[in-house]
Symmetry: C2
Subunit: 338 residues, 2 copies
């Protein structure tokens, strides 16, 4: 082992001052309180001893950990790495550190992880696991916990959020399909318990008009659920020529079901995804999808939380980031009717 790490007291002794002075000299905020000559001597001593401040001790004293908890459903879902990366980048810039946990959409697990983060005295939370109704978040907000949701929203007035402009994305997608000549457009809706599922569905219904298109709700934002939903859709509405998927994974499921039936995309069915996940352009076929600026979403969420933590009293605002349809090869004109 490394032999005890040098402490502030060691540095102080080495520089011939009191630890309080050393503390002030080493902290940029208070450095001006100490004679610059002394400060320099202390800095040198600190470097020589290889002093590394103990954030735990500091946190104990100041009751601020400069750490924030980040909750995602599953890091392995390609949607989240860019978001997390954005969060980390902005958090870093402010001297905060992210504590990242996975909840696997399991409420018990989420509570356990939340408690773990609380025990580490994180200063706030960035939550990517929000459901529209979310008791845990409600309790936290109740207690005055600093809290920002990202990608999704929770139905709690006063909770800041950063989301994509899903309604506009849906509008762009539907317009694109219309322009190609599609009239029988269906929606493979995401789970309605989360805001993205609900918002995208509502926008779809609005765009599809009173006549409406078929809607099938998926059990989850997964390839498997997407495939199952597509199966139902194709069985019940064989006339469908285009589908808007709730997200890219669902779209991937649709492609899989299509392939299994020996039908082809886009010749037999046009498919539009949502998110523009990494490598969506390399799929078979390259996926037409709505791009959501995930990295930027993470950045903004972190920014919001930091402001909440440091700012005097900021207004809880929700940031809406623009989305954009990117057209690739999974959409084409509908097949001629038989």
């Amino acid at each position: 082992m490394a032999g005890r790490r040098p402490t502030l007291d060691d540095v102080a002794r080495a520089a011939g001052v009191h630890k309080a002075t050393a503390s002030r000299a080493l902290n940029p905020e208070t450095r001006n309180q100490v004679k610059s000559e002394t400060a320099h001597r202390i800095t040198v001593a600190a470097r020589r001893l290889g002093y590394v401040p103990n954030t735990l001790a500091r946190g104990l004293r100041t009751s601020r950990s400069t750490a924030v908890g980040v909750l995602v459903p599953d890091l392995t879902n390609p949607l989240f790495p860019p978001i997390v990366r954005g969060i980390q980048d902005r958090l870093d810039a402010h001297g905060y550190t992210a504590l990242l946990v996975n909840t696997d959409n399991d409420e018990a697990r989420e509570r356990a992880q939340f408690a773990e983060l609380a025990s580490r005295r994180v200063d706030g939370f960035i939550v990517a696991t929000a459901r529209r109704q979310h008791p845990l978040l409600a309790e936290a907000a109740e207690r005055g916990t600093a809290l920002v949701t990202v990608n999704r929203t929770v139905e709690l007035p006063g909770t800041p959020a950063v989301v994509g402009d899903d309604a506009d994305g849906v509008a762009q997608a539907v317009a694109h399909l219309r322009l190609l000549g599609h009239t029988r457009i269906a929606h493979l809706a995401g789970p309605q318990s989360v805001s993205t599922g609900a918002v995208r569905l509502r926008a779809f219904l609005q765009q599809a008009g009173p006549a409406g298109g078929a809607v099938v709700e998926c059990a989850g934002y997964t390839e498997q659920a997407g495939r199952a939903a597509t199966r139902r859709l194709l069985d019940q509405c064989p006339g469908t020529t285009a589908v808007l998927a709730g997200n890219d994974l669902i779209a991937l499921g649709a492609l899989a079901e299509l392939a299994a039936r020996g039908r082809r995309c886009p010749r037999d069915l046009s498919v539009v995804g949502f998110n523009d996940m990494p490598f969506a352009d390399r799929f078979q076929p390259p996926l037409t999808t709505v791009r959501v600026p995930h990295h930027e979403m993470g950045v903004q969420a972190a920014q919001l939380l930091v402001e909440l933590l440091t700012g005097p009293q900021t207004i809880a605002r929700t940031v809406v980031l623009p989305t954009q349809l990117v057209v690739r090869d999974s959409t084409a004109a509908p097949p001629p009717p038989l």
Copy 2:
């Protein structure tokens, strides 16, 4: 704000005991030291007050943070989420928390992040950014820091590591190509400064025999570097009918260059990747590649580190996990010679 959180002293007072007793009652390790009736009373009081232990304070006293630092180059690289997830899963099971940072292959940034983690007094490190020569890791090892590398190794005797059996993977890939009839097999080698690049190249040279195949080293494990290397390869060795890429991203770069030249995979050139990254089966064409058990790698690395931290004195061992070729559509028999 939430009004001060209840402390151990609050719980103790509520239960009519001393905080030391409360501490013992709440800690499973020492619970048997207190009368079970008292313990129960304390537990109840704790629950009622919503007591959450302060891990920072505990860490200060015990000089163990039950947190470990995890260094990855870039979370956005699809290789790492499964590894990180594996790490987190196993760490969780032992009550540890991961502090995840990105280094972007930048030495200065890595040092800064490392220092940040050190200041949070992590109990050890899991490093996915190891280069063969790595001064930072050497210094850390020197100081007796608990340290495990994952996916890659560092040339420091006594440093535990968890890696895939790359040599065997290469052997399988080359054998597969040979069986298809290829004789002019090239290797798009990964950077030789990291162990995976070097090991895979060595294995390739060994398999290719003294005659050898063409080798081009890529500047990095990126699509862009892979594409540039492919450009050079195709220009210099037009007779090549198959390439083994250093990893999937490089393979993706090869596919891109091929497409840009109007040549097709696998008809004109067979391509084998490495890693079997998520969605490699959905690419165009679905990628033949060597599967590396990334999640399991993470699990094992975490396990190793935990043993290192808690175990009496465990022997530093390096774990090699099996790899397996998975054949998809990016490989085929070579085109007939003109």
